[in-house]
Symmetry: C2
Subunit: 632 residues, 2 copies
């Protein structure tokens, strides 16, 4: 309990809502941290066409920032249209239907898990680069970090928000300083190239610069956009006015992300940065800007490490919210909608932490192994979200002015600018779809195939769950259900292994239920059966006792056969209750020393109608002595 | 089911009893298989004092055979005195008391597990010596063999007996042939020494032949005696007259074991056999006797491998019988006394297989690692058994002639030869105690410390279990228990999450229990609470409905608080029943999609007296439709 803090009252919820500054830290760390690798990923692809091709990185980055702008505008429109939040899932559900919505849900859930796994692994990889002796412990450290973030999040969103605010803002400040110093020195002509650049790996044999190569580089660079959707999913976490605050935060995030990304991509050119596993582009820029591995250099690397780890936190805000939404729609187990004791969806957090830890263990915390699984889900959800928004503007455009349609989470009214909005969302949908396809194709054999299998599989599971809930609702529906008749006959079976206080207490309970009681004893040897019959004569209140011989020396099977026989002769309107005396020892593990008759009967008879199994506990603890009722 | 065969009727039990020939195969394979390593273990110790000391092996073996004779005579007397079986455990319990009995029980159970682990590992090691490429798979093969033997034993004792009869007799015949041929060639002077003997490992620097060294060699050689006790534990498995059949079988086993062991130890001298990890002494003798690695040589090695694996089977006969005895005495969970469906103590077999597999995995199927844990338990139980018999003769001697004392498992009468019998058992007790101590001291750091910890720990657990059963019997005793008063007031709480068929069926059941019913709904949002109140007005039969606000958005906690509050205001003679509607889906794993309210309530309220939790199932399956009762 001390680990997750005291429970919060529902009325506390508004106080838990966060402002723009904290919101930026909570929801933007994922997106901002991707600047740590996006430029490098572009250069890695371009390097296949030789060093001369590296200068394409800046124009490609400009194109990506343009895409970022389109995506941001689209999500701004979404946040305005959906003040209760939900992002791609809700947009797809309201405008495209259940299947696209569940695809978006599966894509986002997968991606949240991968965000945690990739970010933490990448952060630890930075740490390990600095302290190579930690290499052998990287899986353990990664999992420990996941657990650490999990506990923070179980304490509630605001406290975690405060906690991530410091590293997030530290990263933003130090990165602007680094890029600013580098640009100033470039402007004054004192920047120069990287000293002792790392060896260039994967240099191709001057492959031609094809459209496919440029698209591949573009797709790789779009990893910078991962995490942009987080705010639209979490609008409800913001202070009122939610839509406004969330929208402003999204804009700020896009501006910071775009400017940092453009700055880094631009600087990579003049300093002749090379993509390398040995040294990141960020490190090369910082080293060149500050003229060596000084304090500011170390601060830049440290902040990058920290923001990568904190990026995982974004998923901790988004995953439980989305899974609770899907659960409320009946596509995930309903239990995910219950809140834990700190106003967070605890079960979702636990599932996220478990899945991410599993991925980290399976992939041995290797970012290289995890990256090809990443980003497809994001772009799939981008595509569905923007396609949904496109459809929405189409519907809005066809509405006569001053009319409104009440939808599930929002109100749709006529919009005079619907054409330009529809086109901008449509272009975004097409572009992000292309990115998703390019990603899946170019990375298929490296691991993207896993996602190509997992997302449809998840969607199938979601619909299986939904089918079950629909069937259950149909079966349980009170329509065409006649007035329930009273139970006219109540028969009680009381299995006893001996005659003791527990048995007598259970008998007394049985007598309160009905006068039609049969005690049943399974006899393993004749001597003890005779003893029990004698004692029952004394204590059995005249209730009849049936002794079942057990020819196979089994205990439960003869009892089950007897119950089934009685149940088969059951009349309509007759209910059969099996009252099982249960001895409750002082310590729970002492239960292992007693036969769990009620549990086994319950499992064995669960599908038989008209049978109810009741265990009557007899507590061993002195204060729990059932005999207390004797005192009158 | 096909794996363990059809269940056997109790009346089949006598047919399951085994004769002397099958009995020898079932119970003797453990003891006989130890000839495969006992001589070699003596030579390993003697080699520390140089090659010249090896000739002590034969006199030491003679001494061990003398010890074997004493142990055999002692167990003959035990079998006669205890026709219902039980061996060291029962003898110690009847003559020495509970603590020595439980020590014997712990020692024997430990040793049964080790017998399985050591024998199977050793058998696989022989196999691996022949086919070195299997080395990497040895743990897997060993565990697979344990599983194989387990399945055979779950099929029932006789079928397993038949199965082991072939390899057991094959081993006896081929070993007598090998030893016979070697002795014949020795007598005719054509035997000679081992060709190309393996290199002598662990050759000491001509250490002096001390008494300690000879005792150490003697102790090592007494591993030949492991398994001798098995027959006395399993007397009841024999055909009538049980004692006679078991006694004859024991005598035969001792004669075969002693003669083979003496023959092997004698032959080791003239052929100049050397102890080596690379080639066993058996292999050296067989190779020399048959003049090379021919068919008969391979048969000898194969039979040795097989008997080692089959030796594990002995433990499968003894372990479940002993644990059932201890369970019947209340020192192990009572469930161990129930028979499985094939007249064997299935649970004991499963525990044995699990523990042995665990040991094999932990020690990576290394016989060298396991051997120091072995044999202490055997000699501890020998000591306790013979000390018990000594005490018994002392009691018998003090009885006047023609008087008898009825004991638990037997009848004790005056014996005119009590003095000589007491001395022989007393000598045996002292000798086996010395062996146990020498074993524990000389092998302490090699692993015997594990046993020195495990046996007392097991004894402590046994007494803890016994204490619990004694306390339970005391608490449950009907002495000083007044006539049970009737339940005068029966209050029912019906928690509902909605109003549907399951709720209505549960309500109908509740109405059959009492008129004092309160339906309780935990409200997460006001809208749905209003809907439920409306529907309840229609379907609730006038039963009052309490809506609990859930300020923390929790589901179960408000319900628990309400129940506890009601329970605290409970009158004497009032019982509170919580009737929980339970939806039973078509497939069991669909349960994961529904809240398990009854299970959680049961766990949370188990220690509160006067509360009974009943779940009323509503089956989804069409034929399980509770509505069937509507038809009248």
């Amino acid at each position: 309990m001390w680990l997750v803090g005291r429970p919060l009252h529902s009325a506390d919820a508004p106080h838990e809502a966060i402002g723009k500054a904290v919101g930026l830290a909570v929801f933007a760390s994922d997106a901002l941290s991707s600047t740590a690798y996006a430029t490098q990923e572009i250069l890695v692809v371009l390097a296949a066409a030789g060093l001369g091709a590296l200068h394409y990185a800046f124009p490609i980055s400009v194109a990506i920032v343009a895409l970022l702008a389109i995506v941001t505008i689209s999500y701004e429109q979404t946040i305005k249209a959906y003040p209760s939040g939900g992002g791609a899932y809700i947009v797809a559900r309201d405008n495209l239907g259940e299947l696209p919505a569940q695809v978006a849900g599966a894509a986002l859930l997968t991606d949240y898990i991968l965000t945690v796994a990739v970010s933490v692994s990448s952060g630890v990889a930075q740490l390990v680069s600095a302290f190579p002796r930690m290499f052998a412990l990287r899986v353990g450290i990664s999992v420990a970090l996941v657990l650490f973030i999990t506990v923070l999040n179980l304490r509630g969103v605001k406290e975690s928000g405060k906690f991530v605010a410091i590293p997030s803002y530290f990263f933003i400040v130090i990165m602007y300083l680094t890029v600013g110093v580098a640009l100033f020195r470039y402007a004054t002509g004192t920047l120069g190239a990287v000293a002792d650049p790392p060896p260039l790996e994967r240099l191709g044999e001057a492959q031609a610069v094809t459209l496919f190569l440029l698209l591949h580089a573009f797709a790789n660079g779009t990893t910078a956009l991962t995490g942009v959707e987080a705010i639209s999913n979490g609008v409800t976490a913001f202070k009122e006015p939610r839509s406004h605050n969330a929208g402003v935060t999204l804009m700020w995030m896009a501006v910071i992300l775009g400017s940092l990304f453009l700055g880094i991509s631009f600087l990579a050119g003049p300093i002749h940065a090379v993509p390398s596993e040995a040294e990141t582009v960020i490190s090369q820029i910082a080293r060149t800007a500050y003229g060596g591995r000084g304090l500011l250099y170390l601060a830049t690397i440290g902040a990058t490490t920290l923001i990568l780890v904190m990026a995982a936190n974004t998923a901790y805000a988004g995953f439980p919210r989305l899974s609770a939404l899907q659960a409320a729609d009946g596509f995930l187990p309903r239990q995910l909608t219950y809140r834990g004791s700190r106003l967070v969806f605890s079960r979702g957090i636990v599932v996220l932490a478990g899945a991410a830890s599993l991925l980290i263990i399976v992939f041995k915390a290797s970012v290289t192994g995890l990256i090809p699984l990443y980003a497809i889900g994001v772009f799939l959800s981008f595509t569905l979200s923007q396609a949904g928004m496109t459809r929405r503007w189409w519907k809005a455009g066809r509405l006569p002015p001053d009319t409104e349609i009440r939808e599930r989470d929002t109100v749709l009214g006529h919009d005079p600018h619907w054409r330009i909005k529809m086109v901008s969302n449509g272009v975004g949908a097409v572009l992000t779809a292309i990115v998703a396809v390019v990603f899946a194709v170019t990375k298929f054999r490296e691991g993207a195939w896993v996602i190509v299998i997992v997302i449809p599989a998840l969607v199938a599971i979601f619909f299986a769950i939904h089918g079950h809930y629909l069937e259950a609702a149909r079966v349980l529906s009170l329509e065409h259900f006649g007035a329930p008749p009273r139970v006219l006959r109540h028969r009680v079976i009381l299995p006893i292994s001996g005659v003791h206080r527990g048995t007598v207490v259970a008998l007394r309970y049985a007598l309160a239920l009905s006068n039609d009681i049969t005690a049943v004893h399974v006899s393993l040897d004749a001597d003890s059966a005779r003893r029990i019959e004698q004692k029952w004569g004394l204590w059995g209140n005249g209730v009849r006792l049936v002794v079942l011989e057990s020819p196979y020396r089994l205990l439960l099977e003869p009892l089950l056969d007897y119950v089934k026989e009685v149940a088969d002769r059951r009349q309509p309107n007759e209910t059969l209750t099996i009252v099982v005396p249960q001895f409750v020892p002082r310590r729970w593990w002492h239960q292992l020393l007693h036969a769990q008759t009620a549990v086994i009967l319950r499992l064995a008879l669960i599908n038989r109608p008209g049978i109810v199994i009741t265990s009557v506990p007899y507590q061993m603890v002195p204060e729990g002595d059932y005999c207390a009722v004797e005192t009158d």
